[in-house]
């Protein structure tokens, strides 16, 4: 069964509603008539060549970087990140 997701749920913002100003911008797009309605068939934006991909390997962070990441934990205990109860619904 499909469940309709409203913008407040999609955005994780309580009580969020579409804005009048933004809707006016979207109206312009709805009424536009692009010559080619199939995007990205003509223009190659920024594709990376397969020969140019970065190596697929794990790079260890420095000790100082790891420490700052821990310092940024909103809530920590014994060096671990404490999260809100995850299992629900």
């Amino acid at each position: 069964m499909s469940k309709i997701m409203t913008v407040d749920i999609l955005s994780s913002i309580k009580g969020a509603q579409p804005s009048e100003a933004v809707s006016q911008l979207f109206e312009v797009i709805k009424n536009a008539h692009p010559a080619n309605n199939n995007p990205s068939t003509t223009v190659n934006y920024n594709a990376v060549s397969l020969n140019d991909l970065r190596a697929d390997k794990v790079v260890e962070s420095s000790a100082s970087e790891k420490q700052i990441i821990k310092d940024n934990f909103p809530k920590g205990k014994g060096g671990y990140l404490v999260v809100t109860k995850v299992i629900e619904d």
Partner: protein
Amino acid sequence: MVSKELTCTALVQEKIALLKQNKYNTVNCLLSEMALDLAAKVDAKISRGERIGLLEGIPFGIKDVYMLQGTVTTASSDLLKQYKSAYTATAIQKLLDAGAIPLVKENCDSFGHGSSSENTIFGAVKNAVNPEFVAGGSSGGSAVNVAKEYTVFSIGGDTGGSVRQPAGYNHIYGLKPTYGRISRYGLMAYASSTDCVGPLAKSIEDIRIVLNVMSGKDVRDQTTVFSEEISEDAIGTPKGINTIGYFKNFIESKAIDAEVKADFLAMIEKIKSKGIQVKELDFFKSDTLVSTYYTLAMAETASNLSRLDGTNYGNRVESGSLKETYAVTRSENFSEESKRRIVGGNQVLSQGFSDAIYLKALALRDQILENFNKDFEEVDVILSPVTPSTPPKIGDSLKDPLAMYLSDAYTVGFSLGQLPTLTVPKGTATGLQISAAKNKDATVLKFANFLKEIV
């Protein structure tokens, strides 16, 4: 410094004092300790008789959306007001490696969301020319610091005009390079397909030097491209620039101020009188450009900012369950403008809207790019005003978001085209924009030097 008339430490102290006293709300955080340590090293090097590089000991500012390890990077938001950078952005690291000294994390619109630098928890940035007016945005603090000479140059970020428009409002130079010329690694993502790192400075030469230092491929940003260093000689004369163009509909628009229009057309006549051919070009209507840009930028920012939920970092607001914690954290910590853009982005990406709006906007972007490709077969440079009108008074943009979006009409097209575009403080009250084809950043600087000579 090399002639020992001024020490680097004295220079840095002077700039920090100016930043501390300033009433323009340009400062989110001063980096005094780091700056003075680095200055002492430069002084020691000079006293040992060692050569110093072009940027060594030069104080600069950083828009508060760039990572600099160990410093607080807030994005001018409540959500990240205590967030400490774990690493350093590639562009900033290159400047540090060249010996430049970071002084300040600069005020801006929160997450780059704005065109006035009023959407910030640190207070609206005031215009350097008239403090009753906005500084422009989103890199408003950076532009004002350069204009007031609190920094020698600053590093802003330009997604839809955020370097060029505040540069125009504060009468300085501001460059959005070709997309991919400078790595975005360590720049907080707003709209990844148009985000660019851009320098603001008081001279073309400073822009050239800083651009050269920051440019280059980076494995950490796979959209970066190879680029050649731009030499001073290469941009000294307008050789090779024979024809320029301007968009007729920008100038015939009802929204343009009469004075901006008259000044722009007078500049066109002056250019013609120097033997350069000028062509009128057709382009998309302003509302189509603005709507295409904002549709795509909102979709991208909704995705990019979805990671900000207070779980791993940021100002988490506990609220019982996980989903409630996400929602309350985001509701209480994002500004109204950021929420408007996130909601708009999720709207266009959702089922039923994506075909009618998001995919159509992508198709329009393709057409805009094709239009540019055709134009640059005929002209070497496109010249345009930076903004249709002069800066609004502080407070006015917040009352009318649609008017704020529409004020970006002349900058967003070049962002969608990923073109190198420079604001020069000449020609109209808010300057002129010079654009060239992709990767022709040198052409833009070359034409800027030509304009400097004739105005």
